[in-house]
């Protein structure tokens, strides 16, 4: 398409485009509606692992906090100011994976 276009051309382009935007989004609308039926079967099951992960993290934190408290000779409330991020990232991701494996005993 050339660079200089007439107003009539621009009207046609606008009309075609506006219709096309509606068509594309309407198709997505239709498919999302369809999705609801397909996906509704086992919602709860897929959500679960996340919660479990979180709980595992909680345990991990508790263990680390306790260990730290003992080794530094302070009580846990004094220690808990540290974030998980800081603690876990000092160690290697791989080492951490290994540690978690060891602790939980399930491979």
């Amino acid at each position: 398409m050339g660079k200089d276009i007439s107003i009539v051309d621009s009207l046609i382009i606008s009309l075609v485009s506006m219709v096309a935007v509606f068509v594309v989004l309407a198709i997505i609308y239709y498919l999302v509606d369809l999705l609801k039926i397909v996906a509704s079967k086992k919602n709860e099951k897929t959500e679960e692992p996340i919660v479990k992960e979180d709980l595992e993290d909680e345990e991990l934190v508790a263990v680390i906090a306790a260990a730290l408290a003992v080794s530094l000779g302070v009580s846990i409330p004094e220690v808990n100011i540290k974030s998980i991020k800081r603690i876990s990232s000092t160690a290697s991701r791989w080492a951490e994976v290994g540690r978690r494996e060891q602790t939980t005993g399930k491979l």
Binding site: K3, S6, L11, M18, A39
Partner: protein, 393 residues
């Protein structure tokens, strides 16, 4: 010798070289900094844009200098080789990410990773409001043609009405890179001004009863739906409008990374560090394109005027379609949420929430407005793709 050196030195200062236009641009940059810092208008982009503008309009600093590269015959081998005679300035190199179309998709990736499409999936009919609100783009496009802009220029001006920064930058960098400065600044300024531009239009087009409509709570959306959604949207919209692929595709890629739940560390980095680094580079270099010699012109004024019209008409389109949906559903849809279809995530959704609560303090429209809001982001990416199809060849 002494005199020569001292004289040369004095002539080298910027005071001797500064132009009236540059002084105006410096004042504009101060104004933008004031709006960003003091008024809190879109500071994440306006602060870098304004400072880039400041740096680019201080004379002689060379921060935006282009490198000089020549093809010469190697004296030894006799072969042609490429040789850099002068290196470019920092902002020139950082600007390559805009020119080559790299930053806008990366920003879209970050936006995708920060967006929860849940409200849209829960109420998919709201997606049509995100289509209707693109009206402003195309009417403004016609208006720009009427004002004697070329086709590619008009398309780039129209896209301001998409209220979608990266889509505007992407399209403009492909079609009319010489207008990047004014278009980017208009787009982000109006996005910042959404709380001022939209409310009068919304009020004028709706009745008190319509604004009071309470919508029923959204259903919860399963993880599975949220994972399938981005894949589906990518496939469908790229097949339909291939030129929309780079924008919609990366937006949805970011969203999949967010929702799939197994690559949390990638999701965090995209949302934070990658997004922030690109934002700084993008904003600063965009601002630096607004040099006095090109920025201060009649075109810029027209673009700023047309941009405002685009924004207003987008709101009109969304609200009117909202009224139609209100009728069709027999009053189950509050027409105000149509205004959120212009994208400008999340400001326009908040404007809707505020206006709804003004009529009835117990009316919470925010989540319902988020549906059209995120749909608007997809809609304007599709619109950008369409315009690229027509003018990008």
């Amino acid at each position: 010798m002494v005199i020569e050196i001292v004289k040369g030195f004095l002539q080298s200062t910027g005071f001797a070289a500064i132009t009236g236009g540059q002084i105006i641009m410096l004042l504009i940059s101060f104004g933008l900094l004031y709006l960003a810092i003091k008024k809190g208008f879109e500071p994440l982009l306006l602060v870098p844009i304004a400072f880039g503008m400041l740096l680019a309009n201080l004379p002689l600093a060379g921060l935006t200098a282009e490198p000089v590269v020549e093809i010469v015959k190697d004296p030894i081998t006799g072969k042609l080789v490429s040789k850099t005679k002068e290196f470019g300035g920092l902002l020139y190199y950082l600007y390559q990410g805009v020119e080559l179309g790299i930053y806008p998709p990366l920003i879209f990736l970050g936006i995708g990773a920060m967006t929860d499409f849940g409200p849209l999936i829960a109420n998919p009919s709201s997606i049509l409001l995100g289509a209707a609100a693109q009206l402003g783009i195309f009417i403004t496009f016609i208006g720009a043609i009427a004002l004697d802009f070329t086709g590619p220029e008009s398309a780039s001006i129209g896209i301001i009405g998409g209220a979608n920064g990266p889509a505007a930058l992407y399209l403009c960098s492909k079609l009319a890179p010489h207008l990047l400065g004014p278009i980017a600044i208009a787009a982000y300024s109006y996005m910042a001004l959404v709380p001022i531009i939209q409310p009068p239009i919304m009020k004028a087009l709706t009745t008190k009863e319509e604004r009071k409509v309470v919508m029923k709570q959204l259903r919860p959306v399963s993880k599975k739906e949220k994972i399938i959604f981005p894949i589906m949207v990518t496939v469908i919209s790229t097949l339909l409008i291939p030129s929309a692929g780079p924008l919609v595709g990366v937006l949805m890629f970011g969203n999949l990374i967010r929702e799939c739940g197994v690559v949390e560390r990638l999701s965090q980095t995209i949302q934070n560090e990658l997004m922030n680094i690109v934002t700084i580079f993008l904003g600063t270099t965009i601002g630096a394109t607004a040099k006095a010699e090109t920025f201060i012109s009649g075109s810029t004024l027209k673009i700023i005027g047309l941009g405002l019209i685009a924004f207003a008409l987008g709101t009109v389109g969304g609200v009117l379609f909202g009224k139609i949906m209100c009728k069709l559903t027999k009053g189950k849809v509050n027409p105000l949420i149509g205004a959120a279809g212009v994208s400008a995530v999340p400001m326009s959704a908040r404007v809707v929430q505020k206006m709804g609560q003004e009529e009835d303090p117990g009316n919470f429209l925010l989540m319902h407005a988020m549906g059209p809001n995120v749909a608007g982001a997809i809609g304007s990416a599709v619109a950008a793709g369409l315009l690229l199809t027509f003018f990008g060849g």
